[in-house]
Each structure stands twice: as C-alpha cells, then as structure tokens.
C-alpha cells in the first residue's frame, strides 16, 4: 500500500472555518506547599529545588470543582450563554472517577445544554491541549459554533518521590468559536507524538512512575523541540516573530532550556512561566501559562503555546491576539490574582488535604 499524496496535504492542523478563543479562564487553588518543606521532611537538598512552591487543592476541591471554576471564568469572558456550547471536554490525569466522566458534571454545573458532546481526555500532561485540538476540529469544521476545552489536574506525587516537589493543582478553560468573535485567532496547530514510555500510571496504581533522566532528552526535549520548531517552520515564522511563548513546565529548568534552544529570550517566556510559583499543574500547565499571557496581551501580538504529554507527544498552537481581548481581560479574575491568593501550608496539612493520611 502506498500513501495517497492527497491524504497528506501538510503537517499543520488548520480549520476550514477560521477559529479562535472567545473566552478563557484560569483556576489555581489557594494553598501553597513550599519545596523546602518537602526537602525538610525527606532530607532533600535545599539548593537547586525544581520550583519554589506548588499549588495544592483544598479538601473540597478536585478536577471537577476546579474545572467548573475555570469554566465560569471562561464563560464570563466569552459573553455567551452556556446553552450555546456544543461540547464540554475535560483533559486531566486526575479525573475523580476512572469510569464516569468529569465532563458531564462540569457541563451540568455550568448550565450547558444536554445536546452536547462531552467526555474526558487522557494524554498525561497534554490531555488539555488534546481537548483543545478537538475543539478546534469541531468549531473549525462547522459542526458546532462554540466548544469548551479544559485542562485541569490535581497531580499525584508519591511521598518522597522527586515529583512530590512539583506535582500541583490547577488549570484553565478555553472556549473556542468563530475567529471573528474571538479575542485570539488560532492561526495553526500541530501535534507530534511517538511511543516513548517516560512516565505512566497503570490502572489501579495510586502514583505514577517515571524513567528519571529518560524523561528529559528523549522525551520532553525531543517532543517539545520537534513540535515547536515544526509549527514555526511550517508557518514560516521564527522566535523573533512572537511576543510570547509558553511551554509545558514540569519545573523551571526544562521550559527555560527548550525556549533558549528554540531561540526565545527569557523575556518572551517570563509571563507564562508559572511553574516556579505554582508547580507543575500537568494537563493544566501550558494552558494556565497561556491564560497568564492572555491576561496582559495586546491586540496584534502573536503567541506560541507548546504542551507536552508523557507517552509521549506535544501540541503546538500559534495565536494572534485580536482587539476584543482588551474588554474581556477584566471580566473574570486574572491568573496572577489566583497566584497572589496564597495560603502557605506545612507538609502535614498537605498530606491531610491530599488524603495521604490513613484514617480507616
């Protein structure tokens, strides 16, 4: 069998109907666990910690409640009625149920109609951007006018594991619609995937496992680098054509290094680099970084967002900010406002909030 040349038109994902973001909203829980507190308990070295602190969901929070918060913020900015949505999709690796969707609970809670597509997406840390690609497909094909994609996590880090320093809670919601109504047009998307087992959680396992240094070079750097450089070259753009860039951020160093390799300056990534202050929000990480950028972006500016999901793959999006952004930015709490809403907790409280203490 040979490949029909007409079935490979190009590498980019570009919709027939021009599509953009009409509303977005972040949510970050208020509790913060300093990395040095984890180091204190586990005898870790306080020099070179991967982040300063991480955001932790409270006792009454999970991916569903946090998704609802972010979705309400996105609806406030979009200015549409929830019944106008044709899809509500949630990407996460910490859905409260293994079987039973988060998406339907969120949809019901925000007042979406029953005549929608809903479900959950799973692709480690890029589950959220995978939902975004699907929303781009739905809106861009004309199947629906508005589609909602959420990336949200309450990430699991095994006590004592290196991931415990960074595994955090938070994420963001995006509503896609016609580009003409949007605050930022999605000029193109691109997905790059391979079978690379760097990080996984098997069925019934409480905590994920990872291949330590294997998560770097052949996993994160290979996929994020390929994804970002391909979308830029296919679009005929280079780093200097962008005002902002945001990459999946499992820590502080990885996104800094890949940004440098791709030719971006520290100033271009500073606004969206939240992991030092909130940790790695997994499926929410790139999306909540983007929401911080949209909070301050100006019409005409161009943004690159590149996610990463273990297993492994990376989605890239190129956004061109449009005029309506200025009036919509203040219609919901900004990302930095959530980061500023900060209550430090100690390790014991963290264990209690994360249900790590056995009580029965």
């Amino acid at each position: 069998m040979t490949v029909n040349p007409e079935s490979r038109p190009g590498l980019l994902l570009q919709p027939k109907v021009k599509t953009g973001i009409i509303g977005y909203g972040a949510y970050i829980p208020r509790y913060r666990l300093p990395a040095k507190e984890v180091a204190r308990i586990w005898g870790g070295n306080e020099d070179g910690l991967p982040v300063t602190e991480k955001a932790v969901a409270g006792l009454d929070e999970d991916v569903i409640t946090m998704s609802i918060e972010a979705a309400r913020n996105a609806l406030a900015r979009a200015g549409i009625h929830p019944e106008e949505l044709r899809a509500v999709w949630v990407g996460s690796e910490s859905h409260p149920y293994a079987v039973k969707p988060s998406g339907t609970v969120v949809a019901e809670a925000i007042g979406a109609s029953h005549n929608i597509s809903s479900g959950d997406w799973e692709f480690a840390c890029k589950a959220g951007t995978e939902a975004l690609v699907a929303a781009l497909g739905m809106v861009g094909s004309g199947m629906g006018r508005y589609a909602m994609a959420i990336g949200m996590d309450t990430a699991q880090g095994k006590p004592g594991d290196a991931l415990e320093y960074t595994a955090a809670s938070g994420g963001a919601c995006y509503i896609l619609g016609p580009a003409a109504e949007s605050l930022a047009e999605i000029e193109a998307a691109y997905s790059f995937v391979s079978d690379t087992p760097d990080f996984w959680r098997r069925a019934h396992a409480i905590y994920p496992e990872h291949g330590q240094r294997f998560t770097g070079e052949p996993a994160y750097f290979e996929h994020v680098g390929s994804s970002a450089s391909t979308i830029m070259s296919e679009m005929g753009l280079q780093a200097s054509d962008f005002d902002y860039a945001v990459f999946h951020q499992p820590n502080k160093k990885f996104p800094q290094r890949i940004a440098k390799e791709l030719g971006f300056s520290p100033e271009q990534i500073e606004t969206g680099l939240l992991s030092p202050r909130i940790g790695n929000t997994y499926a929410g990480a790139a999306l909540v970084g983007l929401s911080a950028i949209l909070d301050v972006a100006k019409p005409g500016q161009r943004i690159l967002m590149t996610s990463y999901g273990s297993g492994a793959g990376s989605d890239s999006f190129i956004l061109k900010v449009r005029k309506p952004i200025t009036e919509r930015q203040n219609k919901a709490p900004g990302t930095e406002a959530y980061i500023a809403r900060r209550l430090e907790i100690d390790y014991a409280t963290y264990l209690r909030y994360r249900s790590e203490i056995k009580v029965k």
Binding site: N45, H210, G211, Q212, R213, E217
Partner: protein, 392 residues
C-alpha cells in the same frame, strides 16, 4: 628486560563508543559497534579465534545470559570460542586476563576482548540494587548496603583516621574532570571548578555528587594477538601486555582485617610488576579505579605511590595532574568519562593504549612508555592490574 620463551601478547587494535545513556541502542548493538571499531583499527588482522566478554549485569539488567554467543553472532563471528567473564566492575579487565592466559599459553593466537554494559534503562534505585549484587548477598546487600554506602563508611573511617581536607578530596574529581574535558567520548565533558565542588550536595555522606563516578552505558573492545602473528604494517599501532595479574580479596568488608587497605590491589600490582620485570618508578601513568574518591585514594596507597593515609596529598601537590609525576585517569577516568561497570576495565586499557601510541588527542600526556592500569571490582574485592608498554 627478561623475556621468557612464551609468546608475547600484543594489543593490535582498540575501539570505544561514547559512554552515556544509550537508550536508543540495544546491548548487542553497542557490543557490535565497539568490535567493528577495534577491527577497523587493525584492518589486516585475521578473524579472531575467541571472544572474551567482560560484563557485570546483562543477566539481570538486560535479561541476557549467553552473551558471548549472541555478540559473536551479531559481529559476524559465528562459530568462534566465546565466553562471558564476570568479576563485578572488574569484569572487562578480567576478560583481558583470560584472553592473555589463552594466548600466552599457546592454545590460541588471536582474541577479542569486549567490555559491554547497558543499564541506564533502569531507575536509579533499581540499578543500585542490581549493582549491590557484587557485595556479600547474605551479610551485606541483604541489609541494604550498596557499593556506594560501603565506600562511604570506609571514607568516614579514612577521614577519622587521617583527616584529609575536603579540598584535597575534591581535587580527585577535579583532576578527572579536567582530563576528561579533552575526551570526545566522555559522559561528563565539562571541567569541575573548586566552587562547584564546594557547593555540590552530599549524595552519600561524606561523598558529594562529584565524588562518585556516574554509572552509564558503554562498550569498548581490544583486538589481541600473539606477537609473531601481528601483520608487519600494524606493528607501529601495537602494544605489549607486559604483565597482568588478577587477585581476589575477602568479599565481605567485615571479614577483612584491615578494611582501609586494598590487599588485592596491592598484591596484583606487585605481581604485574614482577611479570613485566619492572618497578613502580618505571611506570609513567596510572589508570586507576575512581568509582569513588575512596577507591582512588586506596588504590594509590595499595600500589605504593603514597604511604598509608597520605594519598590525598598527591592530588594537592600536582603529582597527579596531566603533566605531574604520575598522571592518573588521563582521559577522565570513570568520574568524567563515565562508569560503564563491567566495561570500564576495557575502556581503561583502550585509553592507556591511546596514550602510549600518542593518539590521545587533547588528553595526550608526555613521554608515556609504560602504563599501569588497575580495575577494581566491588570495594577492592577483585583487582586486575595490567602493565602495557610500547614495543620500541
């Protein structure tokens, strides 16, 4: 120099792969590439009659026993004699010893010595447990001791007895890293500053991160021949194995009367020198085992280059530098080149060969006629000491 009537054993070709995390390569792939490089280094050599494979963990880490047969097949050497030699981290050097015995005895004329190890697919804690199999299983590894923790206990004792300064200990890693900066195959190619060493976290107290050689994947090969079978054009590229001795010591640390002295290392140096008919003063450099800084210290003292408890002074007074009186780890040692466990001994021998042939590039030392190469398995449990010398 006295020469017996027995055939001389020469190294005719060497091959080494970069040491590192070879995630994209198989165990057999690494092995075959190293063999091809050694064969390309000695193109006129006939097909080797035997292969001696030095490997420590293929059975457990790669689920592969019968390694020599596998490697021979993939190296297009089906049918030759082949066997795997295991002596923990000294496996590669022990394989050379077996090849040396076979050729010197007159039973065979040519042999390949291969060191190969592929372990970085395993998470660090799993790998530590595999490496700990080289200790006494019933009395040491069963209670959680690993080679690193065992060396750390000895290091604490050494510090209590002899009070070396922290800077002096750090100088060993810095010498290796400085030498390794010129080695294109090195896993840690950057030099190490005194500040960076001082700031480094404790990894296994009292060892800092940089005191420990990083375990990595690698493969290296040597092509051996008896002297009268060496094609004439290859003579300028060949070296003599002037002596090689393998000595073992009590496995468990608690059975040793004097744990701060590497007895097997000491005896093997004496025996190798006796075979070569030389003394310590005739040796130009020392490729020692620097699995940890403790190994480096006790190796220098066991060989007799420093009195007991005083080897740390050598790293401070410049003796061990590239142009000092006794250069060590001249291409970075395991600390900078990387530590491919059972393959490490073959790397040491191949590196010493490059130095003696003047082919060490940016790592080249001056006036190297004769090399002392020592591989230690475990905490000095198996010691293989080899003396290589130039033909003319």
């Amino acid at each position: 120099m006295p020469r017996s009537s027995k055939p001389q054993v020469l190294i005719a070709g060497v091959g080494m792969l970069p040491v590192g995390e070879h995630w994209q390569q198989s165990l057999r792939g690494l092995a075959v590439q190293a063999i091809r490089l050694a064969q390309a280094d000695a193109p006129a050599m006939p097909r080797p009659q035997a292969i001696f494979v030095g490997n420590m963990l293929a059975s457990s880490a790669s689920h592969q026993a019968n390694l020599a047969a596998l490697v021979a097949e993939y190296a297009n050497l089906v049918g030759i004699e082949g066997v795997t030699v295991e002596a923990a981290e000294a496996s590669g050097a022990a394989a050379l010893r077996q090849a040396f015995i076979a050729i010197r005895s007159g039973l065979i004329e040519t042999a390949l010595v291969l060191g190969v190890e592929k372990v970085t697919d395993h998470p660090a804690e799993d790998l530590d447990a595999l490496i700990a199999r080289s200790l006494d299983s019933d009395y040491e590894s069963a209670i959680g001791l690993t080679p690193h923790s065992q060396a750390a206990l000895l290091m604490q004792r050494y510090i209590a007895e002899y009070a070396p300064s922290s800077e002096a200990l750090g100088a060993f890693a810095r010498i290796s890293r400085s030498n390794g900066a010129g080695n294109p195959l090195a896993f840690r190619p950057q030099p190490l500053s005194a500040e960076a060493y001082a700031k480094a976290p404790l990894q296994v107290p009292p060892f800092k991160t940089w005191d420990l050689a990083p375990v990595a994947d690698g493969a290296a090969a040597l092509l051996l021949t008896r002297d009268d079978k060496l094609p004439k054009p290859l003579r300028q590229n060949a070296l003599r194995v002037a002596g090689v001795a393998l000595v073992t010591e009590r496995l468990a640390l608690h059975d040793r009367p004097d744990p701060l002295f590497f007895e097997a290392a000491a005896v093997s140096v004496q025996e190798a020198c006796r075979q070569a008919g030389i003394g310590l003063a005739d040796l130009d450099f020392f490729e020692y085992t620097d699995a940890t800084v403790l190994h480096a210290l006790l190796s220098l003292e066991a060989a007799g280059f420093a009195p007991r408890g005083q080897a740390w002074r050598l790293a401070q007074d410049g003796s061990l530098d590239r142009y000092g009186s006794l250069p060590v780890a001249t291409m970075g040692g395991s600390n900078a080149r990387g530590f491919p466990l059972g393959a490490a001994g073959v790397y040491q021998l191949a590196e010493a060969a490059l130095q003696l042939l003047g082919k060490a590039g940016a790592c080249q030392i001056d006036h190297a006629q004769r090399a002392l190469v020592q591989s230690l398995g475990g905490t000095g449990t198996t010691a293989v000491t080899t003396i290589l010398e130039r033909l003319a």
